[in-house]
């Protein structure tokens, strides 16, 4: 439904008299918000009408949703900031697993989780910086460099740990900090909300965010005006790696163990969430709220299909359709911006 909205909004904006819907669509993340809100209304009405068949509003279901969202949320926030800066990181799924295994095995060896977790994040930051250094130093497409990273760190997990799962037994304080709950709200969900708010201010209200948008939007212009675009990109790479490690902490604290294969495909879901949320693959466009709505949308659709007992392949087909529609819609918006 989004492309239709775009077409009807375009001519109106030229005459500067936009309908209410048109105004929302024109806002950053406005279109994705409309889609998300409509879906929520349909789900809530459905759940109220058929409370026994469609248990969308049941406490169990809401808890499952709140627990699932933060992991993809962290990955997508990091990947999204990097995408706005004009680069990709395909290695975050592998980095997520690698740093989680690193943390879990350090705890198993007797280290406090409060020390192991920051070490995991540090490892994520350093891997991100390494991706950035290689990409920038040799002027390579980050797509290729981080594709290498995806395979390398996946292999490193097996080298370091073998194909067995690692148990994660942190002290209780650590568990309640990342997997407990506050006022009935899941701790991981509170973390992701904090991250969304923090990233929103960093990207949309802080000098650094302005430099990220400038670097991704027009690198030559940013350079010509005195922005150190290499450094901006490097920091963005580090953020992507660090947030991958953060996702690893949240997932591991929740499950109590790490599977060596658990991160596979998550990098693509994170990029999908970003594209659905309105980020341009060329960089320079997008919003944090959009990224988060993209994550929420992916998980809501997953959840609804599970509740409807649809086979798993429907999920993939749905997400695929959504990504392509979102990409088309973004493209239309961009062309309008350049006209």
């Amino acid at each position: 439904m989004t492309p239709i909205l775009a077409e009807s909004a375009a001519p109106r904006s030229r005459t500067r008299r936009q309908s209410f819907l048109g105004q929302i669509v024109a806002m950053p993340a406005g279109a994705i918000f409309l889609v998300f809100a409509s879906l929520q209304i349909v789900c809530i009405v459905g759940a109220l009408l058929y409370p026994d068949e469609f248990r969308y509003l049941s406490p169990q279901n809401l808890t499952i949703l709140m627990k699932a969202i933060p992991v993809l949320g962290c990955l997508a926030l990091g990947a999204g900031v990097l995408m706005i800066a004009g680069e990709f990181d395909l290695s975050i799924g592998s980095v997520y697993t690698f740093t989680a295994i690193l943390m879990a095995s350090l705890v198993e060896a007797g280290l406090s989780a409060f020390i192991a977790a920051p070490l995991g994040i540090l490892a994520g930051l350093m891997i991100g910086m390494l991706n950035g250094q290689i990409t920038l130093r040799f002027g390579l497409p980050s797509f290729i460099v981080t594709l290498g990273g995806l395979l390398f760190w996946r292999g490193a997990v097996l080298l370091y740990n073998g194909a067995v799962q690692v148990r994660f037994d942190p002290e209780p304080a650590f568990s309640s900090l990342f997997a407990g709950s506050l006022f009935g709200i899941n701790a991981a969900f509170i973390w992701i909300i904090l991250f969304v708010v923090g990233f929103h201010f960093l990207l949309h209200r802080h000098r650094f965010g302005n430099h990220v948008f400038a670097t991704g939007g027009n690198r030559a212009a940013a350079e010509a005006i005195g922005i150190n675009t290499g450094r901006v990109k490097l920091v963005a790479f580090a953020i992507a790696g660090g947030m991958a490690a953060m996702a690893g902490i949240l997932a591991t604290a929740r499950v109590g163990s790490v599977q060596p294969g658990q991160g596979a495909g998550l990098e693509l879901q994170a990029i999908a969430a970003c594209v659905i949320g309105g980020l341009s693959l060329r960089g320079g466009r997008g919003s944090i709220i959009g990224i988060f709505l993209g994550v929420l949308l992916i998980h809501t659709i997953t959840d609804v299909l599970l509740l409807l007992r649809a086979p798993g392949f429907y999920l993939d087909m749905f997400i695929a359709t959504l990504i392509v529609l979102a990409a088309i819609f973004n493209h239309l918006i961009e062309r309008r911006g350049l006209a």
Partner: protein, 245 residues
């Protein structure tokens, strides 16, 4: 050198691989002087402007500011020396608003780096109205990608005029401007000269150059072929040098 000039280029050469864009180029800009940098397509004018802005580094030779030898390693260095540039290919980011473009890289922030958005917006509004009159822009929140070519150029001019300190480099600033906006820009250059700000104006329009410049530097194939005070030359002589060298 008896008296230090504001800006001097000493025997500057610049190669891009096998191509020599500048060779042995020397000229100077005095305080409060408007210099017209003229020459055919590919003569090396933009390369010169980029070099003074710190975007390119000379292959040999050097710059000096106030008589002191200087090397600009990046754009921030030249900004620090008081140099402000309007690039031939307007250095703007389409996906950002006019305000954010004007303050790009020089954001007003609190001490934690958070943007003082209201203040920047007010200044942007004022700058847009005063520096050059820009037709048809009603809000500084408009995305630059939605502007016309001339409006974009006007935003780039407004930005440079707002941040100007000592030298303003203008690389074909009028190429997309309307007649009225061009007049406004040329008047702006003269007004800045009154405030002792120097300008280097690159243009293919000799009439515009003749209207505001005190001196002309004509380049051909990467080097200087003529350097003359306005009083000592005519438009037809300038034309001859540009066309025939």
């Amino acid at each position: 050198m008896s008296r230090a000039n504001l800006l001097e280029l000493h025997n500057i050469s610049k190669s891009f691989g096998a191509l020599t864009a500048l060779r042995n180029l020397s000229f100077h800009v005095e305080e409060g002087e408007v210099v017209g940098l003229l020459g055919d397509n590919g003569a090396g004018k933009s390369t010169t402007v980029n070099l003074i802005s710190g975007i390119h580094k000379p292959t040999s030779g050097h710059l000096s500011v106030d008589g002191r030898k200087t090397t600009f390693t990046c754009r921030s260095d030249s900004a620090e020396a008081g140099i402000e540039t309007i690039y031939q290919h307007t250095a703007l980011v389409d996906s950002l608003s006019i305000t954010r473009n004007i303050f790009m890289g020089r954001e007003l922030t609190d001490r934690f780096g958070f943007l003082r958005q209201r203040e920047m917006r007010e200044i942007a509004m004022e700058v847009l109205q005063n520096a050059v009159h820009i037709s048809g822009i009603d809000s500084p929140d408009t995305l630059v990608g939605n502007l016309s070519g001339g409006q974009k150029q006007a935003v780039a001019i407004a930005r440079a005029v707002y941040f100007k300190k000592r030298v303003l480099l203008l690389d074909e600033p009028t190429s997309a401007l309307s007649v009225r906006e061009t007049e406004a820009l040329l008047n702006q250059v003269l007004k800045l000269k009154g405030e002792n700000v120097s300008s280097v104006l690159v243009t293919h329009n000799l009439y515009h150059a003749y209207q505001v410049c005190d001196r002309f530097v004509i380049m051909s194939h990467g080097t200087k072929v003529f350097d003359v005070q306005k009083a000592d030359t005519t438009i037809s002589q300038l034309t001859e040098y540009v066309v025939l060298t």
